[in-house]
């Protein structure tokens, strides 16, 4: 049981987690919420604007959900990514994984987040408080390093 959703509307993390909690025999449920911070690089922000590639974003996330399901014994996965204007304190992305085993639920949630950060076609723009020019967020090397740890030998050339 898995669901991937991209939406401009605020994410109701309670309802999303509840959708997985009825699962037969899931002993472990891990959730991750990525939340819009009040500061970015040390200065306050008014909002983030999330752009995405419709069609490819869903497909790319679904592909990684399937990959996670082949790697770990998962009973349920849910990924919701918000787009558009997002204010500090609001949820940008929500990932939930359910399994009989906590190790699997934790690993799959981390794997999905690492891939979302580096492979899913979304781009963040920062709207600064005080009216200075908007800025596109730069990709972080540490996110690429985090994603690389899941790479299998056959992907090494990639």
């Amino acid at each position: 049981m898995s669901e991937v959703r991209i939406s401009e509307h605020p994410i109701d993390t309670t309802a999303e987690a509840a959708a997985l909690s009825g699962l037969t025999n899931a002993g472990a449920l891990v959730t991750f919420s990525g939340i819009c911070r009040r500061d970015e690089d040390g200065s306050p922000i008014a909002a983030l604007f999330l752009e995405h590639y419709p069609g490819m974003a869903e497909a790319e996330i679904e592909r990684h959900v399937e990959e996670a399901k082949t790697r770990w014994p998962l009973l349920g996965v849910r990924v919701v990514h918000r787009t558009g204007r997002i204010e500090p304190g609001e949820t940008i992305v929500f990932v939930a994984t359910a399994s009989s085993h906590r190790e699997a639920a934790f690993a799959a949630a981390e794997f999905l987040m690492d891939y979302l950060k580096t492979r899913a076609p979304f781009w963040k723009k920062v709207e600064r408080a005080g009216g200075s020019a908007d800025q596109w967020v730069e990709a972080h090397d540490k996110d690429n390093a985090a994603a690389a740890r899941w790479r299998k030998p056959k992907d090494a050339a990639e």
């Binding site: 752009e51 995405h52 492979r119 076609p121 979304f122 781009w123 723009k125 596109w136 730069e138 990709a139």
Partner: protein
């Protein structure tokens, strides 16, 4: 062929998508970038550092050397910053 631009590539070029008809000498994604750079200042600015531009053919990530042959939708975008 349909070409899409995202994030600051879209902003610099000034459009989100367009139809293009490159000559037969344009074989790979890199070739297409070079060809687009010659189309005007806005393209030259958008692609001034081709190494950091990512490419997808028909909604799948590809390397710059990948052959375009058969692709109906080519997308160019900066490194991803979602999640």
């Amino acid at each position: 062929m349909k070409v899409l631009y995202f994030a600051w590539l879209r902003e610099r070029i000034g459009k989100a998508e367009e139809e293009v008809d490159p000559p037969a000498s344009v074989v790979t994604a890199s070739d297409l970038i070079e060809w687009l750079r010659g189309r005007g200042e806005e393209y030259a600015l958008a692609f001034n550092n081709p190494k950091i531009v990512r490419v997808a053919f028909d909604r799948t990530h590809v390397q710059p050397g990948a052959k375009i042959a058969g692709a109906r939708e080519v997308a160019f975008f900066p490194p991803m910053t979602g999640g």
